[in-house]
């Protein structure tokens, strides 16, 4: 924490910590945003993609003849035409024990989920391209499909991948202490099975890729609304056999939401730029909503069998959780289930842990990270069990949590497991009791219990649910920022990561302005273009604040020392006598003796052609920093929800929602609160509304927003927010991630609240989302 106080001692922090309104907003509010499909690609052909209508099938033959004859169709590509790029798309996170199944950009022989790309039509416009899709004739041999982990594990059942011996993708066990022995000796052991179903990211803008190849410079320019431009460039360079400098990957200035699915790498991203190089004509593909429903990665489906052992006083002794994770048809990455494994223990002291993952392939679109990324499931399971322990012991749910929380003096706290970044799961800082007591005070539990009893006597069913979590954020390997004094005397900050609504142009101007000490109006932030900064990782896992933030800070500090050195040389004074403010550097004791940033640029950047400069004068005022976190930093929070359940219809009304949040130091509280509020809405969706249903033969049942219920303003209440500030000691800004914290605890809190409301019925809430159907079943099955 020394570095935090360092910031405050050495600097006037004028921008960091202020809820500055966003610079992005005026263009977005006036329809001048630059989303991928808004860019002037008027001479581009448009692509449409033929996707497998079957969950599992062998493609026997493809006949494109009729489609090719359609006026306006330029070309059609299938895997047979794309042999050079029919290469494996490897998982983001793997494991030595992974039963690996190759994922190709397009179907070569076997289609393994509904939505898998089979052919690409390029036409004069999207209308004609879609007309041509209807004219492509494909003969399929349909095969039995696997549409759940339960079906995947059935002995003698069909296999997701023809020729594989097992549908298990990976089986991993992590342990701390001696869970077997602890389960035998624990005075109390309770068990339950919980099921969480699939949901999607549903950024309102779909995915999109456009590309142009310049035969003169031999440069391939790709526009891709990805969360991770450098990652996509690297994948393309590897698959195409090009150098990274031959590919310029631009994530457009505005991206219409990400939430995880846009951080993954897809076959379309490989195919579209490649065919551009083949055709020597630019092409764009913009995913429509139907495609998004069936081909963008999803998340959440897991089935947990959990046991907890505890003593008479409610102290946790052991946690054992064995869970099935639905990996989908391919392993796009193991980050989600491995995050689930390490998120289970949460803010509690648990001496003995057994966390066991059985990840299964299914004939459904692959799963991967989605806002929360494996954590909402883990938190739901753990927090449901905390409530069950409270029920078992006749204790208030807040009290059982109070007795088990890691205390503020226990940091750094080693849980005894590994996190998904490969480092030991060691919490850097936090104040979990402050979160719990903050919520307890604001809810007034004693009063709530009185209200609840009174309501029950009137036949109304109110319930309170609490849910706490610890979230690993700000993971490696690194993130970069380049800070430059432009020749016109302004400061340009270039980030590698691309934003999808998080306000980078505002927040990182705040950071750079404070680090350098200049007027924030002189600072401009750009992002998402691999030609502007050579390396980067991208926006995912709530990592950018805690990685790009320190990178901007460090690069800005270096730039500042350059500015001071040039000024010292020009003013013929010592650096220590100088100060920086507004648009100039001046001698503190003689403020009229100053040089403008513009003058510094003239001397050190523009220079005089052919003339020498003093040996110690810094030139080319530009600094790049890459921040490499030693491990994840751990945000935390609590959700408290009061619901009323209509026991006759199963409808849930949220009467109050409260969120306590701790992401360390806050750069822009308005934006952080926005992240929490948005995450909260997603959590409400996961708790009550959103469900990507599939039939037993793997056909998606919800491919419209009539059938997939995204919550609207009527369904999502405004939660009351409070903040706890436990700065991270692991980065110079003391920050932690905030992008997912609103989502993670909410499903568990709602589930706890609903079970609390329905306690007179003895209902057991074991499956999310809590549709009216499931709530009613919970009532009637335990009547």
């Amino acid at each position: 924490m020394s570095q935090i106080s360092e910031i405050k001692e050495n600097l006037t922090v004028t921008n960091i910590g202020r809820g500055m309104i966003r610079r992005e907003d005026p263009r977005l509010l006036t329809g001048q945003g630059k989303f991928i499909d808004d860019l002037p690609f008027s001479d581009f052909y448009e692509a449409a993609i033929l996707r497998s209508p079957h969950a599992h099938a062998r493609v026997v033959s493809i006949d494109t003849e009729r489609a090719l004859k359609l006026s306006g169709v330029i070309a059609i590509y299938t895997a047979a035409d794309l042999e050079p790029i029919m290469k494996d798309l490897p998982p983001k996170v793997s494991h030595p024990k992974l039963n690996y199944q190759i994922r190709l950009p397009m179907v070569k022989e076997y289609a393994n989920y509904v939505g898998e790309p089979i052919a690409v039509v390029v036409a004069e416009n999207r209308y004609i391209a879609e007309d041509a899709l209807d004219l492509i004739e494909i003969e399929y041999e349909t095969l039995p499909a696997v549409a759940s982990t339960h079906a995947a594990l059935r002995k003698g059942g069909p296999k997701v991948h023809i020729g594989s011996e097992s549908n298990v993708a990976v089986h991993i066990i992590q342990k701390a202490g001696d869970p077997e022995a602890a389960l035998k000796t624990a005075p109390h052991v309770i068990r339950e099975t919980f099921k969480i179903t699939r949901g999607g990211g549903h950024s309102i803008e779909g995915r999109g890729v456009a590309a142009r190849f310049d035969p003169i410079t031999q440069q391939l320019t790709v526009w891709d609304n990805t969360q991770a431009p450098h990652y996509v460039r690297q994948m393309l360079a590897t698959i195409y056999g090009m150098t990274e400098d031959e590919i310029r990957l631009i994530a457009p200035q505005d991206i219409g939401g990400g939430f995880g699915p846009k951080a993954q790498f897809y076959g379309e991203e490989v195919v579209i730029p490649w065919i551009v190089m083949q055709m020597k004509h630019p092409v764009k593909w913009v995913e429509d909503r139907w495609e998004n429903f069936i081909s963008a990665t999803m998340e959440r489906s897991q089935t947990h069998r959990v046991e907890v052992g505890f003593d008479e006083d409610g102290h946790l002794l052991v946690l054992k959780d064995v869970f099935e994770h639905d990996q989908g048809a391919y392993c796009v990455g193991l980050q989600v289930p491995t995050i689930t494994m390490s998120t289970l223990p949460g803010p509690y002291v648990i001496p003995n842990i057994h966390s066991e993952l059985i990840s299964c392939y299914t004939n459904i679109v692959p799963t991967s990270s989605l806002r929360g990324a494996g954590r909402p499931q883990a938190v739901t399971v753990m927090e449901r069990m905390m409530d069950r322990i409270a029920e078992h012991l006749g204790m208030e749910p807040a009290e059982i949590r109070r007795r088990n929380l890691i205390q503020p003096d226990q940091f750094p706290y080693a849980v005894g497991l590994l996190f998904r970044d490969g480092s030991p799961l060691t919490y850097d800082s936090g104040n979990y009791p402050a979160l719990l007591e903050g919520a307890v005070d604001r809810i007034d539990i004693v009063k709530f219990r009185r209200d609840q009893a009174e309501a029950r006597s009137q036949g109304r069913f109110l319930g309170l649910g609490l849910s706490m979590y610890v979230e690993g954020t700000g993971i490696g390997p690194y993130e970069g920022a380049r800070v430059r004094l432009t020749n016109s005397g302004k400061i340009l900050v270039t980030l590698a990561a691309s934003p999808q609504g998080q306000g980078y142009e505002t927040v990182y101007a705040q950071v750079a302005a404070d680090a350098i000490g200049v007027d924030i109006d002189l600072v401009e932030v750009r992002h998402g273009d691999t030609s502007s900064i050579p390396y980067g990782q991208g926006t995912f896992a709530s990592r950018v604040t805690a990685t790009a933030g320190p990178a901007v800070w460090e690069a800005s500090e270096l730039l500042k020392s350059d500015l001071l050195a040039v000024a010292a040389s020009l003013l013929k004074c010592d650096v220590s006598s100088l100060a920086l403010s507004g648009n100039s550097v001046f001698i503190e004791s003689e403020p009229e003796r100053r040089v403008l940033l513009y003058d510094i640029a003239l001397v050190s950047n523009v220079g005089r052609h052919g003339m020498s400069v003093p040996r110690d004068l810094p030139i080319a005022i530009e600094r790049t920093a890459y921040f490499k976190p030693v491990q994840a930093v751990y945000s935390s929070g609590i959700s408290a929800v009061i619901v009323e359940v209509d026991p006759e219809t199963g409808k849930i009304e949220i009467l109050k929602s409260l969120l306590g949040h701790d992401c360390g130091n806050v750069l822009n509280p308005m934006i952080v609160e926005g992240q929490i509020l948005g995450g909260h809405a997603h959590g409400i969706g996961n708790a009550i509304y959103e469900e990507a249903r599939y039939s037993e033969d793997g056909q998606p049942q919800a491919v419209s927003y009539l059938d997939y219920a995204l919550p609207t303003a009527i369904e999502v209440p405004t939660p009351e927010l409070f903040h706890v500030f436990s700065p991270s000691p692991l980065n110079p800004l003391g920050v932690k991630g905030a992008g997912e914290g609103g989502t993670i605890p909410v499903p568990g809190a709602v589930a706890n609240a609903v079970e609390d409301a329905l306690r007179p019925f003895g209902s057991r809430i074991c499956e999310l989302p809590l549709t009216p159907e499931r709530v009613l079943r919970a009532i009637y099955d335990h009547d």
Partner: protein, 173 residues
């Protein structure tokens, strides 16, 4: 009358329409199956109207036609002949944000901004019918559009702030 067989001719698959867009009237030759949204975006060149679902559920493509908020993905351009269309590009005058747009910015009512145009157009139409005084009215007014980023709280606050300031102006005048 007989069915005009000549309509099979591709030329006949286009129709002339005359529409007023953000106050300026112009004639366009449109393909008959062209959605109004694609017409506004690609033929008129106003890209602020976005397509989020193309089945009338998300509201990102909402525009105002003859004073009513409608989904431009559920109309064909040819159907708009003779009508007056307002899009998000018409809200700010000479680059000065309208009070509602300002309230959106002040209340962090947008994040990625992709859905924002549709929300604004729905609200502009709604506010012409009368003020929005309560949170539940605000939520009802927002409920025909979907936002995945903000959780709607900022928008509710922006609407109420807007309505209060309109009320304030009325009371003071």
């Amino acid at each position: 009358m007989a069915v005009d067989e000549s309509r099979a001719d591709p030329v006949e698959d286009k129709s002339w329409i005359s529409v007023t867009i953000n106050g300026s009237k112009q004639d366009y030759l449109v393909e008959q199956r062209l959605s109004l949204a694609d017409f506004i975006r690609n033929q008129v060149g106003l890209k602020g109207t976005h397509l989020g679902c193309e089945h009338g559920s998300c509201g990102a493509c909402t525009v105002i036609i003859d004073d009513r908020a409608v989904r431009s993905c559920l109309m064909f351009a040819v159907q708009s002949d003779g009508s007056s269309i307002e899009t998000v590009e018409g809200l700010a005058i000479d680059g000065v944000l309208s009070p509602l747009q300002e309230s959106f910015q002040a209340n962090h009512a947008l994040q990625c901004g992709f859905c924002t145009s549709g929300f604004l157009m729905s609200l502009v139409a709604r506010l012409r019918e009368g003020p929005i005084d309560t949170e539940s009215e605000a939520r009802e007014a927002l409920s025909g559009n979907i936002c995945r980023c903000t959780g709607y709280s900022g928008m509710v606050a922006a609407i109420l702030e807007q309505s209060n300031s309109i009320q304030g102006i009325k009371e003071n005048s």
